[in-house]
Symmetry: C2
């Protein structure tokens, strides 16, 4: 089925696969996001819109996109937000997520983005494409807004509920490269999320990870950071196990909801709208994969495409591979 659609390739082209069926507002907001992205896009980016063609057709007619900039790949099935990831991926091979990973794995696209079932995206990222050689466990990072307007990157935020010390060390390398090349932070400061500042503090995992991070020449390690430092400008890259990181991320997300309900309008707290950032990168896999929030709308989709393009144009994956060569 896929081959029949004949995607054209150019040497310098970046081809971004986008799941049009993922998220609460798909496919309309995905189309709008593509529109926003393309309005200021580079000419060497081509989108591959993966989803139900019949559903997309009238929306594309109402919201026309420049024809040369995209291709549609029909995927008749959708994995629901609450389906079991592994089971759904296996049973729904014609779903937009399964097709998206197939295109990515076979080199028909260079990156894949979806705001659909997070678990299915994680499973797909881990099993459809490979981890970078030497990476024990890929990780997912999330942005934390700072008062001065910059972003910090917290990893892991849920892909690895239980971690070994070496996992945290590798998350730090991967997140540092992302912070440097995609967030444009020079010499990103890495902090280990912990329950106290002093060396020697922590649970067994943090105690064992500390010396690994400290001895790692690829990092600008500043030591332990506490919960109170996560929203401050103390570290650019903040490392923890995926259980702690997931609880922190969702707590931080809930602050925005409370601020909204309290009808507080504040420039900084508005930046707690995690939808703004579009999605979180899966780091440590051999191709760029971005997982969007279920509530993603126009701006989120546009930002996710931009992040994927930035990952490609900076050859982030190549830099990650180089960091793990011989490790």
């Amino acid at each position: 089925m896929i081959a029949g659609f004949g995607i054209f390739y150019f040497a310098s082209m970046m081809t971004i696969g986008l799941d049009m069926m993922g998220g609460d507002f798909a496919p309309l907001e995905a189309i709008k996001g593509v529109d926003t992205y393309l309005s200021a896009a580079r000419e060497d980016v081509r989108l591959v819109l993966i989803g139900n063609e019949a559903e997309m057709a009238p929306l594309l007619k109402a919201n026309p996109l420049p024809e040369a900039s995209y291709t549609i790949i029909h995927a008749p099935e959708v994995i629901g937000m609450h389906e079991h990831p592994t089971k759904a991926l296996k049973e729904k091979q014609q779903s937009s997520i399964a097709v998206g990973f197939h295109l990515l794995a076979t080199g028909k696209t260079d990156a894949f983005i979806s705001a659909g079932n997070t678990g299915a995206m994680m499973v797909g990222a881990l099993f459809s494409i490979k981890a970078i050689e030497g990476v024990l466990r890929p990780t997912i990072g999330a942005y934390m807004p700072r008062e001065k307007g910059t972003l910090g990157l917290l990893a892991d935020v849920g892909l690895n509920a239980d971690c070994k010390p070496e996992n945290l060390n590798q998350f730090a390398i991967l997140a540092t490269l992302f912070a440097k090349h995609v967030l444009n932070i020079d010499q990103p400061r890495t902090g280990l999320v912990n329950l106290g500042e002093e060396e020697g503090k922590g649970n067994l995992l943090a105690q064992a990870a500390f010396p690994l991070l400290k001895a790692n020449p690829l990092l600008n390690f500043i030591g332990n950071i506490e919960g109170r430092d996560i929203l401050l400008d103390k570290a650019d890259v903040m490392i923890c196990d995926g259980f702690t990181g997931n609880v922190v991320l969702k707590l931080a997300e809930s602050i925005y909801d409370i601020v909204q309900r309290r009808r507080i309008s504040d420039e900084h707290f508005n930046r707690f709208n995690f939808e703004t950032y579009g999605g979180v990168p899966v780091l440590g896999v051999s191709k760029p994969v971005i997982i969007g929030h279920g509530i993603s709308q126009r701006m989120a989709f546009s930002n996710m495409i931009r992040t994927a393009v930035r990952m490609l144009e900076t050859d982030l994956i190549g830099k990650m591979k180089a960091s793990f060569t011989g490790s």
Copy 2:
């Protein structure tokens, strides 16, 4: 030294030991806190003010307290906020914290409160007085404010960085009794802090703790709660390991700092001023011990005394002992 001061006992009296030298604003704010508490106090509460008599004397002259309501116990030494807890407690036996625990352990006081060195308070609580029989590890809870004005209780928030599933089960029993009798919550709902809602989610600890909480007849277990639920009114008692809880607590505390810096005045966010609540109870030890924040001022000290009195008048420790009998 202590015996010479001759504390008087009455059968119905509740005698609360208060470290006057702990915290950034000691001893003045501790004196003010006692004053505030006594202005609305029950007649059967007596305070034992533990600290440097010479330092306290001029402050007590300037801020006179009703003489019948308190006794002073001189403690010439102070454990600094950054001293090593075990070492300091051992070497400074005339410090206010060491004397405070001695008075508590020997029955000269019924409860002990300090806003001093948190680590020393934890060590003192664990080793000077005993854990309740059957309690594997005592825990420390912290309050989480809700929009409707009530408080949730999160435990553990740092006493136990690494936990076993049975620890979490016991924290839930202890925190539930505190929520019921001190926070006056009928049938407190207990939630397990986790990275997903569904049963089976989580790290190994949460996965193993879930069935224990579910099967526990002493709990009103509502299942897993996520980071986004911690500041909502979903569960009254929220259980996690002390590493996660500590990061969550300090992150929540930092929200108030940000709100202050942004000059946002909002009734709900004002309640994120954790100083308001005075201190956190150590749960599972055989006497009431309350650990205050280093920045504690008048209201915090007053509230800590009130919490200790409430723990005594409801015989919370007796109820905890009964819950662990035969377990």
